[in-house]
Amino acid sequence: MPTLLPPKQYTAKLADKTVYNPKFERYSFELTEPNKLEFTAGQYVSMAITNEGHRRSWSIASSPEVDHGFELLIDPKPMGIGTKYLQNLKLGDEVKLLAPLGQFVIDDSGVEQAIVFVATGVGVTPFRAMILDLLQLKNDKREITLHWGLRHVEEMIWQDEFQELAQNYKNFHFHPVISKASPEWPLCRGRVTDCLSIHELPANAGYYLCGRETMIEDVTNLLTTKSVARERIHREKFY
């Protein structure tokens, strides 16, 4: 694992907000104090959301290249105090956070000969940071594949960006998987495990799983039955 920096307390201001659709909202923050955040792609922030000490963890969606701010991608469905806190922020409002946190980062031991990302829903968030980092900053030449499970095709965001990356970097492959796909949907349908089952799963790849616990367990079981060692399976459970 790469050396991870200890977390620091930051203040930041909401700089931009996009409601893509009922499934995804993006929040973009500019740091105020300190004004630079160094993090490793895959890490998250812990934001203070009440005066009583409640906090919520959100993965950083933006590339580590951007060190003066960071982006979050939120699934508003839980609609608990964390979601409401973000939704009630106005542009320019200040937030307090601790960052960087987490150990869900790309293994740098040189053992993993390819990288396979598996996400459902908002679990794609840390993978966007990792993919931008691997392709654009590190010029990583390994085969990198993103399997991303969503319920409806209308929910999908960032497809233009992922498709453009796949065109510009021949080693990057984007596999959206739609569970409630219309008959016209040309790509994988069903659950991410269905998509994974029909693709080659090399034992020397690193597998990074993020999202809902049940998906993480299902994919872990599938991979272990395909002889992938447990040390090669990296997991970040959002809920």
């Binding site: 991870l4 200890p6 977390p7 812990s46 203070a48 009583e52 000490g53 409640h54 906090r55 919520r56 963890s57 601790l98 946190l101 987490g102 150990q103 970040e236 459970k237």
Partner: protein, 92 residues
Amino acid sequence: MTDGVVRDQNGNLSKQIGKYKVSVIREKCIAAASCVAIAPGVFKLDEEQIATVISQDGNDDETKLLAAQSCPTAAIVVIDTTTGKQVWPLIE
């Protein structure tokens, strides 16, 4: 003893380093490791990748509380030893 004053092994009176006692509910821990990053003197991940308490005095009370509040699953319980009351998670 009051005000955190305790008697050490030799019987001398000394000030207790902190008043907060932390513990980890193992079943809740998802190994996100924020506690280890925030309070490395108090928490570490064991062989099963579950957080354990290595020392109650490795970090100050404020840092221990922050580590508990940053735990995504509220797996860390903080007790104020001077009152016996649970400080975190808040009892609503």
